[in-house]
């Protein structure tokens, strides 16, 4: 067995548990992932580069990354705010609201897609009011951002909440007794404590938004060069049986996602090695 236990454990079942886990992982994750690599490898470098950097592909990267970034930023700000009020304040229906925060996570993306489109299209509840002010949401990059914000909502809230909950009341009282006002206490004492979790949550929201498909394709309008997200581009290439081209783009996209995951893990490791009072 390549994997050996670091310390001898009393509890039985290790071999079986690990074995089954590995088998499943191989089947469901590793092998499939490697096929992308293999398929892309069937292209020459030039073809690869063409597929990956065509104007249409570039436009889709711009949209996907750009809209995801904006959505992540919005969620960063409002997610922190929501976590703050849920943990620190009491108001009617607080519990219900708290449970509802996970809705974007539990709701199927197709449902999210059609409902957001209906809401924000020119004759929807929200869309109609916005058209009066001259803002078009559906079928524009703005619509993509709205959908991605929805999708990413729970991430920042849920990563920040437990940290906020477990904060030592004492440090706030200490700061107040030393004369700090609310803002100073927040900025100098609380924010540094929240920062790792906040960044993690925002990065997760970003990563999630990048890969999102279902909720975006309805509201985006999917016009190439304008409102076509990368996952859709991949879909389209598959439609045209350009498997290799699709794989190439997918590869680039995957590399980006993996880098983000890595980033998150690095931050988390730093967060857990942060000096803690014993």
């Amino acid at each position: 067995m390549i994997l050996t236990l670091k310390k001898r454990s009393v509890l039985p079942g290790f071999g079986l548990a690990l074995g089954w886990t590995l088998l499943y992982l191989c089947l469901m994750v590793l092998i499939p992932l490697s096929t992308i690599l293999i398929k892309s490898a069937s292209l020459s470098w030039a073809q690869f580069w063409d597929a990956v950097s065509s104007p249409r592909a570039l436009a889709s990267y711009r949209l996907s990354f750009g809209a995801s970034l904006v959505a992540a930023l919005i969620n960063a700000v409002f997610g922190l705010l929501v976590a703050w009020i849920l943990v620190r304040y009491r108001f009617p229906f607080r519990r219900i609201v708290d449970g509802l925060v996970d809705l974007p996570f539990a709701l199927p993306t197709a449902v999210a897609g059609i409902v957001l489109t209906t809401l924000y299209s020119p004759n929807g509840w929200v869309g109609s009011r916005l058209t009066k002010v001259g803002i078009k949401v559906a079928y524009t990059p703005l619509g993509v951002m709205v959908a991605l914000t929805f999708i990413g909502l729970p991430f920042v809230v849920r990563t920040v909440q437990p940290v906020l909950q477990d904060l030592d009341v004492g440090i706030e009282e200490a700061a107040h007794s030393l004369g700090a006002n609310l803002w100073q206490t927040f900025r100098r004492v609380l924010l540094p404590e929240l920062l790792p979790a906040w960044i993690t949550g925002s990065t997760l929201a970003f990563a999630r938004a990048l890969g999102e498909y279902g909720s975006v394709v309805f509201i985006a309008g999917n016009m190439p060069m304008r409102t076509e997200i990368t996952p859709l581009l991949i879909m389209t290439k598959l439609d045209q049986f350009d498997y290799a081209g699709a794989s190439a783009i997918a590869l680039v996209f995957l590399v980006a996602s993996f880098s983000l995951l890595l980033l998150v893990n690095v931050i988390q490791r730093r967060q857990s090695s942060l000096p803690v009072l014993g």
């Binding site: 310390k7 449970g99 509802l100 199927p108």
Partner: protein, 283 residues
């Protein structure tokens, strides 16, 4: 704890908020802003699903659900999800056991790998399946429905098992219980709530999966639709009421999932509190 790549049960709020003495103005201003944001992004969509589903009245709603195509979509979805959930439960418990109770080289790598499907775009996952299974028709779409759901059961279980500590199982082993016995009699009852939540969540995700399935079904002919695909077809056909009717079913499932989550949290807290108070009482 494993990475916080997906919201964990135990990371959700406790029952009592810590009441603060932030000035009332600040408090209510923040609550108001938060309220508007959440109202816009959460409540409105939720309400809209049902409003649109019943836009033509209850009869139209029921009729949409009784359509033969709707029925077969629902059937397929249920079947695929059931299979996905079963596989995932076994995998999930096995992985959670391995991760929470043992220390081994490569553990971190394993944890990262487990989180992968969560972060990969569903389209890419779907595409992988197309590449793998090419023109294998029904087999392909049947498989696709399962793939993405693989790992969702796992992350939910790991913190539960960690939180409960290994003492009980160790006690059982010292008393002579074999591996399986320990598992069934000690571990399982302890994690039952987390497990239940994992199952419900996994099921919800499975039934709602859209991206991966649409890639696969679109490119492997001879297919049946799952519910989310069917919704897309209806919507693109401008059949809004039927689309939202089916959507409302999935939305109800989502709400049930959320309620289940709250219940599980509550139970786990109570269990943990009892656990603590027992150990605190000491002599």
């Amino acid at each position: 704890m494993a990475t916080t790549a997906s919201p964990r049960i135990l990371t959700a709020p406790r029952t009592k908020p810590r009441v603060r003495t932030d000035p009332a103005l600040v408090r209510w201003a923040l609550i108001a802003i938060g309220g508007v944001f959440l109202g816009l992004f959460l409540l409105l969509p939720l309400a809209a699903v049902f409003a649109n589903a019943f836009a033509k009245g209850a009869t139209a709603y029921m009729a949409a659900l009784r359509e033969p195509e709707a029925a077969s979509a629902i059937r397929l979805t249920l079947l695929a999800s059931a299979i996905a959930v079963c596989l995932n439960v076994v995998f999930g418990v096995a992985a959670a056991w391995a991760i929470a109770r043992f220390d081994f080289t490569g553990k971190n790598l394993l944890i990262t790998l487990i989180d992968v499907p969560f972060s990969v775009s569903p389209v890419i996952s779907g595409m992988i399946f197309v590449l793998l299974f090419g023109a294998q028709g029904w087999f392909g779409s049947w498989l696709a429905a399962r793939d993405l759901k693989i790992i969702f059961a796992v992350p939910e279980l790991i913190p539960v098992m960690q939180a409960l500590g290994g003492e009980e199982e160790e006690a059982a082993v010292t008393l002579g219980a074999s591996g399986w016995k320990t598992f069934f009699r000690i571990t399982l009852p302890n994690i039952k709530w987390g497990l239940l939540y994992g199952i419900i969540l996994c099921n919800a995700r499975a039934m709602g999966e859209f991206g991966a399935v649409s890639v696969v079904s679109g490119h492997i002919r001879g297919l049946t639709n799952t519910m989310p695909l069917y919704i897309e077809i209806l919507y693109n056909d401008y059949q809004f009421v039927p689309a939202f009717a089916i959507a409302s079913l999935l939305t109800l499932l989502a709400v049930v999932t959320l309620v289940a989550k709250s219940l599980v949290e509550w139970k786990t807290e109570r269990q943990a509190a009892e656990h603590d108070s027992v150990t605190e009482e000491g002599l």
